[in-house]
């Protein structure tokens, strides 16, 4: 395997590690840092793919990732924590070992699911598709195990990272216009979430998700 292929695999492994770290991270501030690091790894791997394959539009999407996911989104989230005054919030997570075990099961599942697609792919990065899917599933797991609104949203953003990684590893990235549209949606989404956090806090005096489980199907 070529050097770039190995580099990409290493970066993919780091992505997965970060996804696991986010799953068990209790401090919200550290969670944002991890999210930013995931963005760094993502854009690095995009740059390497762009360099090896000569797909010039990938440079552009790497820069986009860097701007959006390493700078803009973490900055917005950080400002939010500051304004909401929850910078030092620590979440109590129950059963971290169980969540980790479920996470491992998800990774195995993702690899099995990705197997047939990876075999069809002709990209140098095809081996990482399983990892990309695992990242998506782990972020999803994070969303459903968290009790506070901000980590749930970080989980959602991390899921988008995983999807983006999947797009790069399976197809060398989507057409530019689509990628720009997705980036715009994510950015607007982050703003809407931001406004929404204030509404939640104003109404419930806290950012715990359990306040928002009252409407029942009856």
């Amino acid at each position: 395997m070529s050097l770039s292929g190995q580099l990409i695999n290493v970066l993919a492994a780091i992505m997965l590690l970060i996804a696991f770290a986010m799953l068990s991270q209790r401090r919200i501030l550290s969670l944002i840092e991890l999210f930013a690091w995931q963005g760094v790894v993502l854009s690095l791997s995009t740059f390497i793919v762009a360099y090896t394959t000569g797909q010039s539009h990938l440079y552009f999407s790497g820069v986009l990732t860097l701007l959006l996911k390493v700078i803009a989104l973490p900055w917005i989230l950080y400002r939010l924590l500051h304004r909401l005054n929850i910078r030092w919030d620590v979440e109590t997570l129950l059963n971290i070992p169980t969540i980790m075990l479920i996470g491992i099961a998800l990774v195995i599942f993702a690899f099995n699911l990705a197997q047939p697609i990876s075999q069809l792919a002709s990209t140098v990065t095809r081996a990482t598709l399983g990892i990309a899917m695992a990242c998506v599933l782990l972020s999803f797991l994070m969303m459903i195990t968290r009790r506070k609104a901000v980590p749930v949203v970080i989980g959602f953003l991390a899921m988008e990272n995983g999807l983006f990684f999947a797009a790069t590893s399976a197809t060398y990235g989507m057409p530019m216009v689509v990628e720009l549209g997705i980036a715009l949606d994510v950015l607007v989404g982050a703003f809407v979430f931001g406004i929404f956090f204030f509404h939640i806090r104003e109404t419930f005096d806290s950012l715990e998700v359990r306040h928002m489980e009252k409407l029942k199907e009856d």
């Binding site: 697609i117 609104a149 489980e213 409407l215």
Partner: protein
């Protein structure tokens, strides 16, 4: 040209209303923007009928007889809803339920929401379709939570999280679709264009396409409100302002189903098996049955009609899944009828709830005495949605059921039982609300219910007589998506 107007006016209207929304004439400006958008849609329709399918801007936009039906419908209901929301929101503001800032947000976002739906309908690019569906969620989240009550915040949160997660699945499906397309069409912008994909659909890799369709169906299906990913829908409908319930039910669900149908056409071509159709039939049937039984347990009037929307969307999904000219024709007709009727019902319900000061059905009584116009509007709307002839819903349901009888006989008993249960539930609850005894005095402000009767009149007319050109138009659309 028409497409630019169609998309440009709501976008410009949204920006203008965001900037100057505080003025007294903001609602009128919104109505005007919606009306001009509707005119643009009519012009576009005329052109498509005359010239056949058109593409524009380097094939980035694509209009055929399938989506032009929905474009016209969307702009029409958008226009009547803006007419309805003018007096409705004014009363809400007078009662102090919404602030001036919230009102401004409402009028601006309503236009942006219209824009995202029209973009989703007219785009030829499957990626942009995804982007605009997500944008539609983002533009309505803050509208669902407009009243800032705990329940409204919770509803919006659920809507936001569930639809975002759902739509993330659809993004993965879109990536897989692009992955399959790139093998045939080469990488770059054109590999995501539906028209190009449609031409080479038989060469798309079947394994990837079936996996892609599963993700796309689950993703867009969340927005259609298919069981079991429907949880956001009743909450968002019940807690948001009524005009928003009307456009969510009448339009957004349609647009999401449109996305599913477009994906189904590609998957069918790639697989050559009824896999996609079977999945849709399964989800559709489950939605019809579950929603019908949940209907009877509701106490909140808007929740009840939200479940009714799930039921009807399920029926359409089932019919599109079944495929064939007759079923698809029925499904398209049902889409039109359901949009018009359901939005009319929500208009009437909005006024009824506003006047009674509650959404709990047990506390709404004797509308026919306190306010005959609302009473009749609600009663006729309920009768129409339940599929009583001569209303158009009867015609479309009848077509779907006869097609089901012929193609999928096993499913008809389920459908009939579900429709029967829904009939008993809705009729049993609406009847005392309209004709029951009441002690409430007649209420002051007169209702603005012209949109209700306009919608119901169209539904009635189409139930009795479908003009030949309209029938030909639907038939053409049905042939397109098969």
């Amino acid at each position: 040209m028409e497409i630019l107007l169609l998309l440009g006016i709501p976008l410009a209207g949204g920006a203008l209303l965001a900037l100057l929304g505080g003025r007294r004439w903001a609602p009128e400006l919104g109505v005007a923007a919606s009306f001009v958008t509707f005119l643009a849609a009519v012009a576009l329709t005329v052109r498509v009928i005359r010239d056949g399918p058109i593409t524009a801007l380097e094939r980035q936009f694509f209009i055929d007889s399938f989506n032009v039906v929905l474009v016209t419908l969307t702009t029409l209901v958008g226009f009547t809803t803006s007419l309805f929301s003018r007096p409705y929101m004014r009363i809400e503001a007078d009662r102090g339920k919404v602030t001036a800032g919230a009102l401004r947000l409402y009028y601006a976002m309503f236009q942006v929401f219209t824009f995202t739906m029209l973009l989703a309908l007219t785009t030829n690019n499957m990626g942009i379709l995804w982007v605009s569906m997500e944008a539609a969620t983002l533009s309505t989240v803050l509208l669902v939570s407009l009243y800032r009550t705990p329940a409204a915040i919770e509803a919006a949160w659920k809507y936001f999280i569930l639809c975002s997660v759902g739509i993330a699945q659809a993004l993965f499906g879109t990536i897989l679709l692009y992955f399959a397309a790139e093998k045939v069409l080469g990488s770059g912008g054109t590999a995501m264009l539906w028209t190009d994909l449609n031409q080479v659909k038989s060469q798309l890799e079947p394994t990837v396409m079936s996996l892609a369709f599963v993700f796309l169906l689950v993703g867009y299906g969340t927005k259609v409100g298919l069981v079991p990913v429907h949880n956001w829908l009743p909450d968002a409908h019940a807690e948001g302002p009524t005009p928003i319930s009307a456009v969510l039910s009448g339009l957004l669900l349609n647009v999401a189903l449109y996305a599913v149908v477009r994906c189904k056409a590609l998957t069918d071509g790639a697989l050559g098996t009824p896999f996609a159709g079977n999945l849709m039939m399964g989800f559709g049937l489950l939605s019809v049955v579950v929603a019908a039984f949940l209907l009877s347990r509701q106490r909140d009037i808007k929740r009840m009609f939200a479940y009714s929307s799930i039921e009807h969307m399920g029926l359409m999904t089932f019919a599109f899944g079944m495929g064939g000219a007759a079923a698809t024709f029925g499904a398209l007709l049902h889409m039109t009828m359901h949009s018009l009727t359901k939005s009319a019902i929500f208009f009437a319900v909005g006024h009824a709830a506003q006047k009674s000061g509650t959404q709990i059905m047990d506390d709404i009584r004797g509308l026919i005495r306190t306010n005959p116009t609302i009473g009749w509007g609600l009663m006729l709307g309920a009768i129409a949605i339940l599929g009583v002839p001569p209303f158009g819903v009867f015609a479309s349901e009848f077509i779907i059921l006869t097609a089901a009888m012929r193609e999928q006989p096993w499913a008809t008993p389920f459908l009939l039982v579900a429709l029967g249960v829904a009939f008993a539930a809705i009729f049993g609850k609406v009847q005392p609300m309209v004709f029951g005894e009441t002690t409430l005095p007649r209420l002051p402000h007169p209702p603005a219910l012209i949109p209700v009767f306009v919608h119901l009149a169209i539904v009635l007319l189409l139930g009795i007589y479908i003009p030949p050109y309209l029938a030909a138009w639907y038939r053409q659309a049905a042939a397109l998506i098969g």
